[in-house]
């Protein structure tokens, strides 16, 4: 490896480390509460007093409120026959965030919050009158002549799930990270391609057996991906029927999982048959590169888990958990290489 390419590799790794460190120190702090409660309404009277919890915001910063409530299992956002009011206040009472809805997922705009305790209170509003009273007292521009359908206010018993989160607003950082990642990726490809074209060093090749074995590996990877995406099509179709089940994963991460599975099947098959590395290739350097890249990705994934934002809206998606998936997949390669070396040593 030439001095120039070593410098470029070090610069690339340095950039990734800087972004990772920045992710660690970017203002964080996600606070959440969830409450399961059976609500009984009889003759327009609810047996539930206002209920809620207190969340402590530890550092000043930009945050979003995320509120969800639904009946029982989260298969669909099904409304009960009553309205829920939500009020968030701070200790001074100056800050107030009100909301009223049947069943909902809401993400507020970005708000600058001071450190302190924030009280989240849910109100059961079983009648048009209670709904009007709540909205008149808390919502600006509320029109008291608004009449909701009678189906919103009928008696019954509901097993409700309420959740509320105060999440650090990472949208700007996520956008910058995404753009930086794509830019670094393009830059890296351009640099490596330029170096490869300009280099006078003899081109390392695969021998005929390795090419044959790679053909076998491609075949296995292809079959694996056909099976995977066939199953994916069936399962995603079934999961679109809400009465059956709901997948806790978004489509983008499941597609990525399929692509990575195919890539891993190819790589592991090639490694087992000594057809992964070219002749005289610097295996040690590549293994170290795999391990470092994998660990960086896993670290970013762990940061998401620690912050509780590895899933968006309860669904694990590519944006929040993609790093962990890619890191874990990438780690398969050095592990496979090590196992293969160990097996070869025993064979010798």
């Amino acid at each position: 490896m030439s001095k120039k390419s070593k410098t470029l590799t070090a610069a690339f790794l340095g950039l990734i480390i800087v972004i990772t460190v920045a992710a660690f120190f970017y203002p964080k702090g996600n606070y959440s509460t969830s409450i399961d409660r059976i609500i009984e309404i009889e003759n327009g009277v609810a047996d539930a007093e206002p209920f809620g919890s207190i969340l402590t915001v530890k550092s000043k910063g930009k945050y979003r409120f995320i509120a969800d409530w639904w009946i029982g299992e989260k298969q669909v956002y099904k409304s009960p026959s009553f309205i829920t009011g939500l009020i968030v206040t701070d200790e001074t009472g100056e800050f107030k965030y009100p909301l009223a809805a049947g069943a909902i997922h809401i993400e507020s705009g970005v708000m600058e919050l001071e450190p302190g305790r924030y009280k989240v209170t849910f109100y059961v509003l079983p009648t048009q009158e209670s709904y009007n009273d709540f909205c008149s007292a808390n919502l600006e521009n509320f029109n008291p002549s608004t009449t909701l359908a009678a189906s919103f206010f009928t008696d019954g018993t509901w097993d409700m799930h309420y959740s509320f989160k105060i999440m650090a607003d990472t949208s700007r950082f996520a956008a910058v990270s995404l753009i930086a990642g794509v830019a670094v990726g393009i830059l890296l490809v351009v640099i490596v391609a330029t170096l490869a074209i300009k280099s006078n060093a003899p081109v390392k090749k695969y021998d005929e057996r390795q090419i044959a074995m790679q053909g076998k590996a491609y075949k296995y990877a292809f079959i694996t991906m056909v099976i995977y995406f066939g199953l994916f099509a069936v399962v995603s179709t079934l999961s679109s029927l809400p009465t059956l089940f709901t997948l806790p994963f978004s489509a983008d991460i499941l597609v990525m999982l399929g692509v990575l599975t195919g890539a891993m099947v190819f790589a592991v098959t090639a490694i087992i048959h000594d057809a992964y590395f070219r002749l005289d290739e610097n295996q040690g350097f590549i293994i170290i590169l795999f391990v470092i890249t994998s660990l960086i990705n896993i670290a970013i994934g762990v940061v998401h888990i620690v912050n509780g934002d590895h899933a968006g809206d309860g669904v694990i998606n590519m944006l929040n958990s993609g790093n962990l998936l890619c890191g874990a997949a990438l780690l398969v390669l050095p592990i496979s290489i090590m196992v293969k070396k160990l097996l070869d040593r025993n064979e010798d």
Binding site: E208, A212, L279
Partner: protein, 63 residues
């Protein structure tokens, strides 16, 4: 089927699998696979091996 004739010819020149592999431009594992009978080389590789070991195709690859 194992190719013991190739192994013997290589040993007679006191060459390791890696030495022979370097000489014919393949990986050590490929030479190992040929000797173990796990891989049937192309005619080009057979000729290259024969030249490296100063043998004929019949001597090394004909049963």
């Amino acid at each position: 089927m194992k190719n013991l004739k190739l192994k013997a010819a290589r040993a007679s020149f006191d060459m390791s699998q890696q030495d022979l592999a370097d000489k014919v431009g393949v990986s050590r594992q490929t030479i190992n696979a040929i000797e173990k009978g796990d891989y049937n080389p192309t005619i080009n590789l057979c000729i290259a091996i024969c030249k490296a070991l100063n043998k004929t195709l019949d001597e090394l690859f004909w049963e």
